[in-house]
């Protein structure tokens, strides 16, 4: 299954937030979205996931979702979005309960499987409050894996974590992709993340967000390292493109 955006635009109460976004996202591709604060990255992701309707243009899914996919477009949120009143297993279960076709036993099997794949096997009965940020995001990833999505929609999934945990989870994500070859739209502020994880990186301009540039990276994701000079050069280039806008966005007064 692929996604095809053409001429997508969105305004909130007269304020244009995104305009004329056209993108194709191929199957198995990770597309990173970067851009200054408030440029509409989250809004675009919500529209792709069907949580919001575009005012202009259309967002199409091309081709059938893979067989057995319970929720083709699945989000992973920055703040994890775990239900604090459910255990780790309960949170994963939430995504499965509404599917009548899955029996109790099947559900338990799926839960056990995704928890082990995200190294959470020992924490099935823990409350979210007992987990560190990194563990919480792992639960969210497990929950997403449970519904066998065609596309992951990730909105700054690592930005609430501290630097070291971020590094650890980044490696986990790369490992996961290498195994599962999922499709993903990955929103981030972190250019290092973008160059390590993206097949292509789309840079949005300040509000109203437009696509300024799309950069492709050829190095296979599994082969990328921290010190790869090519990646570092791309990162510098991206930073050069964005720095001025990021500085300006930072200096904006909020609430007038």
């Amino acid at each position: 299954m692929q996604l095809k955006l053409s001429g997508v635009g969105k305004s909130y109460g007269g304020l244009p937030v995104l305009s004329d976004i056209s993108l194709d996202i191929a199957s198995g591709e990770i597309l990173c979205l970067v851009g200054p604060s408030g440029c509409g990255k989250s809004t675009l992701l919500r529209m792709i996931g069907g949580l919001e309707l575009p005012d202009e243009g259309e967002i199409l899914q091309v081709g059938a979702p893979p067989e057995g996919s319970l929720n083709p477009l699945t989000f992973i949120f920055q703040d994890f979005a775990l239900l604090p009143w459910r255990s780790v297993a309960g949170n994963v279960s939430l995504a499965l309960e509404s599917h009548r076709a899955i029996s109790r036993a099947e559900r338990a099997a799926i839960i056990a499987d995704v928890l082990s794949r995200t190294k959470l096997g020992d924490f099935a009965n823990a409350w979210p409050k007992q987990l560190s940020g990194g563990m919480k995001q792992r639960v969210a990833i497990a929950r997403a894996l449970a519904v066998r999505p065609a596309v992951f929609l990730m909105d700054e999934p690592l930005s609430a974590l501290d630097a070291q945990t971020r590094d650890i989870l980044m490696d986990d994500l790369i490992e996961l992709w290498s195994r599962e070859r999922f499709t993903a739209v990955y929103v981030t502020h972190n250019l290092q993340e973008a160059v390590r994880l993206g097949h292509r990186i789309a840079i949005l301009s300040r509000r109203p967000g437009k696509i300024r540039r799309i950069i492709g990276i050829d190095t296979p994701i599994g082969a990328r390292t921290h010190q790869d000079p090519e990646l570092l050069a791309i990162q510098e280039e991206l930073w050069g493109l964005m720095r001025e806008e990021a500085e300006a966005a930072d200096k904006e007064l909020t609430h007038g």
């Binding site: 996604l3 095809k4 919500r46 792709i48 996931g49 069907g50 949580l51 919001e52 309707l53 259309e58 967002i59 199409l60 899914q61 091309v62 081709g63 059938a64 477009l73 609430h255």
Partner: protein, 267 residues
Amino acid sequence: MADDDAQTRPVPYRGGGFSARPMRSVGVLTFAALVAVWELGSRYGYISNLVLPAPSEVIEAFRDLWVSGTLWEHLGASLYRLVTGWSLGTIAGIAVGFAIGLFRPVRASAGPLVAAIFPIPKIALLPLFIIWFGIGEASKVGLILFGTFFPTVIATYGGVDNVDRTLVRMGQSFGLSRWEIARKILFPGALPAILSGMRITAAIAIILIVAAELIAAQRGIGAYIQMAGSLFATDQLIAGVLVLSALGLTVSALIGALELWLLRWRA
């Protein structure tokens, strides 16, 4: 390719809803409709006016109160008690609350005392207040003072306790004295809690004034309501209750305005 086209469709929309935005005009309309139905029901005899007077009768009763000037007498009497009792209780409460918040020995001794007396329903103490302070103004003012004091103490020291400790540590790291920290960090930090305590104590004060005036008062909105009740004059009764609600809303609006101004720094 044909197959592909058949499978190409917009991503399904599944968001929206669960919004808490109000629809103000509908509210006003509902209200107006309700009053109209009530009035018509009363006029055409579907609603016995023994049980519920027509809105027009309530308005008439209110007009009587207004025109005869007794409204101001009653309101004046109640307001005097409210303002005196509430101000004294609030000032004393803030002082004691701060002492508890700042000094551990005070907290250790006064804290549990306050915690023990706080949950006593003050209204039950009314007979005691009459015994202590007689049947004049003192017992009514005293009841309100007493009723506002404890919640204010608790709100104040709760507010002091909840001031972000990194701010205190920041103050210390710049070498501020204890007194400066109390004045420049803890007091403004506790202000939101104190103000929202005031909202609550204002409501409590209005409840207590009603209770106090139910028992022994000739003047006052509570006394007026009680009199109307014992004379089965539902129109006057409801007029009195509405005056009280208006009083409550006014006080709450005033505190709201004060909050808006004093706490304009809040996000």
